[in-house]
Each structure stands twice: as structure tokens, then as C-alpha cells.
């Protein structure tokens, strides 16, 4: 299945500078400027936000073979944090992220479509706690600039999952099943590696 619709490929080629992406290029998602936050609701009364401190990912663009293009992100599940006392041990434990058995969570895109100017719909699959489920993300390009790392593009990516779909059914009385994801990602447009 081609990962990118034609329009998206054109948009991304414009983003990185059309002349450069003649073959496959891999762009790193810079964790130092990124953030993967998740938010749950408690009894509909208030929310709590947690985040993952460590993750890495790539955006691959292949102008000649669009089906090889896509986004892949790996998250260190053990780096989960929440602003509660003693929460880290709880979140790492088997009823939650079960990080000993499943140290990494992975997202891989299956299809990316344009959704308006600077907006993208990213369909993919999320592998969490050993369960793989389809997942849809909305990405918005919020800014581009040039800094010490070269050209960078900032995205805000949002989506939601039901945690029970991944077998995380604990404490449904107090923690909502729906988990919202809010991801701030910075893609370094200076190609990190040339695969071919």
C-alpha cells in the first residue's frame, strides 16, 4: 500500500526542498525538542497529563518509491512520567505499561493523506503492551525555521486511543478508557542518512 497520497508527497517534497529528495532520505525526529504527552480524564472532573521522556523516530521520504515512505517512532515505555507521587513505579507495573515485558511502544504509519494546508492525516498502527491496533493521528505543521541543527519543521500531532484495546483495563473507575495523545515533534530536515 502506498504510504503517501500523491498530494502529500508533493507537499513534503516542497517542505524539504524539492530538489533534494531525489532518492530515499531519512529525517530524524529530534527528541530534545519533542514531547509525547498523554492525557486521561478522572470522573469527567479533571485531567492528568503524563509523558514519555525518551523516544526516537524517523520520517522517511522516497520520491521514487512512495510506498517506502512513512513515519516510524519508537517510545521507551519505561521513560513514562506523571506528576503524582510514586506514580512512575505504578505506571511501569504490569497492569499499566508493563515495561519489563514490553520495553518499547512503536508507531508505524501505513498511510499519510493531506487534510488541508499544512495538515496531514496519518493512519498507522500502534504496538503497545504487545498488542497492535490501528490508530489515526492528525498532524499540523506549525512552523519551519533554520537553526543550529539546520532546517527544522515543527509539528503538533494529536490522536486518541482506548487503552482497554491494548489490554490496559486497570482502574477504569477513576481513569478514563480514552487516552488522548498530544505530540510535539520536530523534524530535522537536513537529511540524517541516505539509505540509497
Amino acid at each position: 500500500m502506498p504510504n503517501f497520497g500523491r498530494g502529500v508527497l508533493v507537499a513534503l517534497l516542497l517542505l524539504i526542498g524539492a530538489g533534494r529528495a531525489c532518492a530515499q532520505e531519512v529525517f530524524a525526529i529530534d527528541q530534545r525538542f519533542g514531547e509525547i504527552d498523554f492525557r486521561v480524564s478522572h470522573l469527567g472532573l479533571f485531567d492528568t497529563t503524563g509523558h514519555f521522556a525518551r523516544f526516537h523516530g524517523d520520517l522517511t521520504i522516497d520520491a521514487t518509491a512512495p510506498e517506502k515512505s512513512g513515519i516510524a517512532v519508537e517510545i521507551d515505555a519505561g521513560s513514562v512520567e506523571m506528576p503524582w507521587a510514586n506514580e512512575v513505579d505504578l505506571l511501569r507495573s504490569p497492569p499499566y505499561f508493563d515495561v519489563v515485558a514490553h520495553p518499547a511502544a512503536r508507531f508505524a504509519s501505513t498511510r499519510i493523506a493531506a487534510d488541508g494546508p499544512n495538515r496531514f492525516l496519518v493512519a498507522g498502527s500502534l504496538d503497545l503492551r504487545g498488542v497492535t491496533q490501528p490508530m489515526m493521528l492528525h498532524a499540523v505543521l506549525t512552523g519551519r525555521h533554520h537553526d543550529a541543527q539546520g532546517d527544522v519543521a515543527d509539528f503538533i500531532v494529536t490522536g486518541a486511543i482506548r487503552r482497554s484495546a491494548f489490554g490496559m483495563t486497570t482502574d477504569q473507575s477513576f481513569i478514563s478508557d480514552r487516552v488522548e495523545l498530544i505530540i510535539h515533534a520536530r523534524v530535522i530536515l537536513t537529511a540524517a542518512a541516505h539509505a540509497q
Binding site: L43, L45, T48, P83, T170, D171, S173, F174, I175
Partner: protein, 182 residues
């Protein structure tokens, strides 16, 4: 506090005294299991915290009301027969009880407001009491110790105060009866 002299404790003063005493003891009793409860019992933990904060805020409101009545109406004169040093000790003890019963809930409010986990304070589980300061781990660490120490001091002092009241009662004096029935 202006020392106006009333004939007897008013009914409101008596009721407030005993309601505040009961609520302080209840809030104090809830505090320990609420903090000790593991995060695996989140719903219960949350409900105990909200109960604790609701009770504490009620204590604050009732204490302010009491203070107002005390300033407006005053208190009955001390029953005769006690040496001056005992009257002065009792007055100092009562002032300390007033001060602590006001300070402990105020400190508790700031504990809740500065806590890193931004759990709202929901009076009676429905009225969101805004936090005028935000999370601050260093302030939280200090405030929770001060709040706890002040609460323990309050309860110890109240126990001593109750012991004196019972002692006087057993010696046939009328203070306890006056606070109970007017």
C-alpha cells in the same frame, strides 16, 4: 480579641464549638489512611482527599464565623474559684486553639494548591475551589510537613484542653455543662 462579656455561651457558639471539634477530629482521622493508601486504590484515595479537604474548608469557614461571634458577643465570664495563672493559661490555650484551627486549613489549602499532581479541590465534590498558586514541588514538600505538624499540635492541644474540661467537670465545676447546654 476584645473581651466583651456575655451572660452565657450563645446557642450558635456552643453548636459551632462542638461541630468544629468533631470536624477537626474527623479530618485528622481521614488524613492518615488517605495519604497511606496506595495508588492502586485511586478512586478511594481521591474521595478521601476530597472529603479531607471539604471537612478542612468547613472548619475554616466555621472558625471564621466563631471568631466573628466571639468578637461581637464575647464570652461568659470565667466561673469563680480559679487562680489567675489558670485563667491566663486557659486564655492562652484558647487563643492557640483559635490560631491553629484557622492556620491548619489555610496551610492545607496551600498544600493542595502546590502539589505536583494537579488534583482540583472540589468542595463537597462539586464546587471547584480555585487554587491561587500553582504546583511548586519545593513549597509542597515544606508545606505538607508544616501542615501535618500544625495539625498534630492542634489535636494534642485540643486533647489537653478536653482533659482540663473533663477534670473540671469531675471536680463539680460548670464549664463543660455551660459549653454543652448553655
Amino acid at each position: 480579641m476584645p473581651n466583651r462579656v456575655a451572660a452565657v455561651w450563645s446557642r450558635a457558639q456552643r453548636r459551632l464549638h462542638w461541630w468544629v471539634a468533631a470536624l477537626i477530629l474527623l479530618g485528622f482521622a481521614i488524613a492518615w489512611p488517605m495519604v497511606a493508601l496506595p495508588l492502586t486504590e485511586l478512586l478511594l484515595k481521591f474521595l478521601l482527599y476530597q472529603a479531607h479537604k471539604t471537612i478542612g474548608l468547613l472548619v475554616l469557614a466555621l472558625m471564621l464565623w466563631r471568631l466573628l461571634l466571639r468578637a461581637r458577643r464575647g464570652r461568659p465570664p470565667p466561673l469563680p474559684g480559679l487562680p489567675g495563672w489558670q485563667l491566663r493559661a486557659a486564655a492562652a490555650g484558647h487563643a492557640a486553639l483559635y490560631g491553629l484551627a484557622l492556620a491548619v486549613p489555610v496551610l492545607g489549602y496551600f498544600v493542595a494548591a502546590t502539589a505536583p499532581a494537579q488534583v482540583p479541590t472540589l468542595f463537597l465534590l462539586v464546587v471547584n475551589v480555585p487554587h491561587i498558586v500553582g504546583p511548586d514541588p519545593a513549597a509542597f514538600a515544606a508545606l505538607r510537613l508544616v501542615h501535618r505538624a500544625a495539625a498534630i499540635l492542634l489535636v494534642v492541644l485540643a486533647a489537653g484542653h478536653a482533659a482540663m474540661a473533663l477534670r473540671h467537670h469531675l471536680h463539680g465545676r460548670g464549664e463543660l455543662r455551660a459549653m454543652w447546654r448553655g
